[in-house]
Symmetry: C2
């Protein structure tokens, strides 16, 4: 196992010390999923969503997508509105796989995407980055590279998302740069944007060839994923629809995520927002399944509320927790793996930011989410990824990972002999029961300081942010990329140089 | 309903605006309690704990307590060790009430203590206080008064604990000062220390008379509680044993709380530490039931781990969460209400502090705790209560309170009409469904700022701590004590003056 789940090195003298070894790469959610609505009301939301698609329809801006839906029996009305009958949706839900495997560059990085898996991602898609050293700034490729390197170092982050938007790279070349960084600085499941067929095809080609796969192997072994947001209410735009079709054709997973803020682009109630989100997700899943039956998709939602005084999005609210729990019920109703999110609306990595990320994080985990996006580093409702926040949030993510491990409860763990051994007034520090376990029993945090006030003051009285700065700096300084073939890296760079010279690939909108 | 659960005032022109009204005074835990051990291993821990009490015994330092146990059939061995047979423990568990009611000064403040209730307390028992204005300092009576006033203002804090130790008041007079403040500045269930019979009796008398109760009424209507910690491993000291007897005699609830740090005064394993804690809690509960069968007690534990490199206590760890979940299983096995805790080991109210309090808070809530102690304001593992942390943590506590409320899911909440009304590209801000609910649908935080980065910067770029300072200052400036009778206040002050002149009451140790 790699870094995060292990600790403690070698004793002096060369004898190996016991090592705490926990598999953070393959987590199973230890909690029973928690419901917030009764089953009959979840059924009512599902039926209402089917009714919405059938009676009210959804606007689909891509002709090819409309054609696919109409060919399956949907009715096309004015203004690109497509009315999708429930039988079409139900057929799509029947063909979507309940479980699929995604592949990293090495088998240790493969993950199973299904209900019951627990997969984390750091914050994604931010236009800005911030850290205590360099301040808040528009994201650049150097920032993206550093954030991918930090992500690579944490086993509990099993997917590498588009952490920050590298705005120093022109948009028609950005997919080259981001894919090169993700492929070379990481060995995990990676991401590509759905920004039109030309970019998607080039990303597929780069990843397929870098990982030494034939075209058939690539289609059969998902290597990357994309996120498809609908334009709530009830609209799927051109690049999103194209992404659904292209990724489905190539067997690469699509994480479907209507982004429905209660009171803004969705009804103000949790039940109403979830119903709209569900309808949109069903439409997107249907489109992917029509493009290729059996295409790997995850259900998803990103439903939170807005501040009704200002319209500002809020995250980590009780309403978001309820929406996450309800979305999990809807996901289980249709049986698909699903994506949820943590996150924060705070402008700085303060107590608000930590509380919001924790509350939404627990909401996602208790909701039985398969993939928890934005679990570390997300600030300003996604407008910024913070280096220090990424580090301090990892102590939360790693805590979730630890909670996935069982606590021993055999007779030896209960330890009657140890209880016999230590008399009133004594302590267990020296007990054999303790000596046998002290190097491996407890999780060790990354950024938390447990020293007492005096010791902490004498050491400089650094708060979590200050400690986190030192941690990301050390990790970046010590970073070594995974051991990829120099030939493959050379080929990738040649491909990018050739395509760049040929003009790159403009996004489609 | 009082402050915290309500918001928004009156419209201009005098017409009353809809008011969001949520009952934070009587919360029921909305989550199914989560298990971390199989039922048979919980049974094994229970049986081992019974075996520990029977075979290894527990040291009881108070002769009166030993006599009570021996009279019930326990065996006294050398060195004040008492061996308590399982039949004695089981009889005690049978006589302990599964549910009891505690009373504030007014019926709205009464609480039901039983499995399923969810009751919060702020941080308690700290020698120090800290705030951004006045720094970290030894606690004084003025600090205690302010913290009681802040506690009074939050409905979700249903009990008033000894937030900070007022060290400017001599210990033989401190119970007068603390009881006077708690009685006059609050109308909630309050606390008294178990520091020997003389102080306990005076506290009972002050509270009984201030609340206008006869002696019989006082004994039948619990008004206050105490916390009894054992001295782990396997020891009950003089004041704790006396507290168990005195509070039981007077029908005032005892929260039994072995404080067992894994690897230090308890075995290093979660299962071992819980088994020791369980044995000690059973012994204390047994003593209380022998003093008066039917005496109201809550089971409890405070089990976390230490840093094995330094011995420093840690809180908010995955091990603490597992211990809380396991303790909840043991509580449900014996059927008693129980006390758990949140908390943080951080030295400053930073991201670590927020994460630790959240993680341990979720652990306690998911464990099905009846009373969650130290849920707001606790720093340095209990050595300090922070004013700002109390405020920012209240957003967590209030979030838990909000999660106790159901989300509407009737057809009207699902809102098909609203979904019909808003077309693709539109928004729901103006929909009738939104207009009907926008003033009441969402929870509003205390210290969280949802404005965008530019607005936040223009407003001074205040972080959560800075905002929290303004909040506690405003709340204290606006504080009005509950409407207690001036006569009763006068009588209380006369009593205190008289007893002070007579020399006060020294604590027993």
């Amino acid at each position: 196992m790699r870094g995060s789940g292990t600790r403690r090195g070698r004793r002096r003298g060369g004898a190996a010390a016991p090592v705490r070894s926990v598999d953070y790469c393959n987590l199973r959610n230890p909690f029973p999923p928690i419901a917030v609505f009764t089953d009959d009301r979840i059924e009512a939301m599902h039926l209402t969503a089917l009714q919405v698609l059938e009676e009210l329809g959804i606007k689909v801006l891509l002709p090819e997508a409309r054609d696919l839906l109409v060919k399956a029996g949907a009715k096309l009305a004015d203004d690109d509105m497509v009315h999708i009958g429930r039988d079409i949706v139900q057929a799509a839900l029947a063909s979507a796989p309940r479980s699929f495997r995604m592949h990293g560059a090495v088998p240790d990085r493969d993950i199973t995407v299904e209900l019951g898996s627990l997969i984390f991602q750091p914050g994604a898609g931010a236009p800005h980055v911030t850290d205590r050293q360099r301040g808040r700034r528009p994201g650049k490729l150097d920032d993206f590279r550093e954030l991918v390197q930090l992500t690579q170092g944490f086993d509990a982050l099993q997917m590498v998302p588009p952490l920050v938007e590298p705005q120093d790279i022109p948009i028609h070349l950005r997919h080259y740069a981001m894919t090169e960084v993700a492929l070379t600085q990481s060995d995990k499941v990676i991401f590509a944007y759905a920004r039109g067929t030309p970019q998607a095809m080039e990303c597929f080609e780069m990843i397929r060839d870098f990982r030494g796969l034939s075209d058939d192997e690539f289609r059969a072994r998902p290597q990357l994923y994309t996120i498809v947001n609908t334009n709530s209410p009830r609209q799927i735009d051109v690049p999103m629809a194209q992404g659904l079709i292209d990724f489905a054709h190539y067997g690469q997973p699509i994480i479907v995520t209507p982004f429905t803020l209660m009171g803004a682009m969705a009804p103000i109630t949790v039940a109403g927002a979830l119903t709209l989100s569900h309808a949109e997700a069903l439409a997107a899943i249907t489109l992917a399944q029509l493009a290729r039956p059996g295409a790997p998709v995850t259900y998803g939602t990103f439903t939170s509320n807005v501040d009704m005084k200002s319209g500002a999005p809020a995250f980590g609210t009780p309403e978001q927790v309820k929406a996450s729990l309800g979305a999990g019920q809807l996901a289980r109703l249709i049986g698909l793996p699903w994506r949820c999110a943590a996150g924060s609306a705070a402008n700085v990595a303060d107590a608000q930011a930590a509380h919001e990320t924790e509350i939404s994080g627990w909401g996602a985990v208790l909701a039985g989410a398969t993939v928890v996006i934005h679990a570390a580093g997300w600030l300003e409702g996604g407008l910024t990824v913070g280096y220090e926040k990424l580090i301090t949030d990892m102590d939360m993510v790693n805590t979730f990972a630890e909670l996935c491990t069982a606590a021993a409860a055999d007779d030896d763990a209960i330890g009657l002999d140890a209880l016999r051994e230590v008399q009133p007034g004594g302590h267990f520090f020296g007990a054999q029961h303790t000596m046998d376990r002290y190097q491996t029993e407890f999780w060790e945090p990354l950024s938390w300081d447990w020293s007492n006030y005096g010791t902490w003051q004498n050491a400089g009285a650094n708060d979590a942010q200050e400690r986190a700065t030192a941690i990301w700096q050390e990790r970046l300084a010590a970073f070594t990329p995974p051991n990829h073939s120099a030939d493959r890296i050379g080929d990738l760079q040649d491909f990018i140089a050739y395509r760049t010279a040929a003009g790159g690939a403009a996004p489609v909108s």
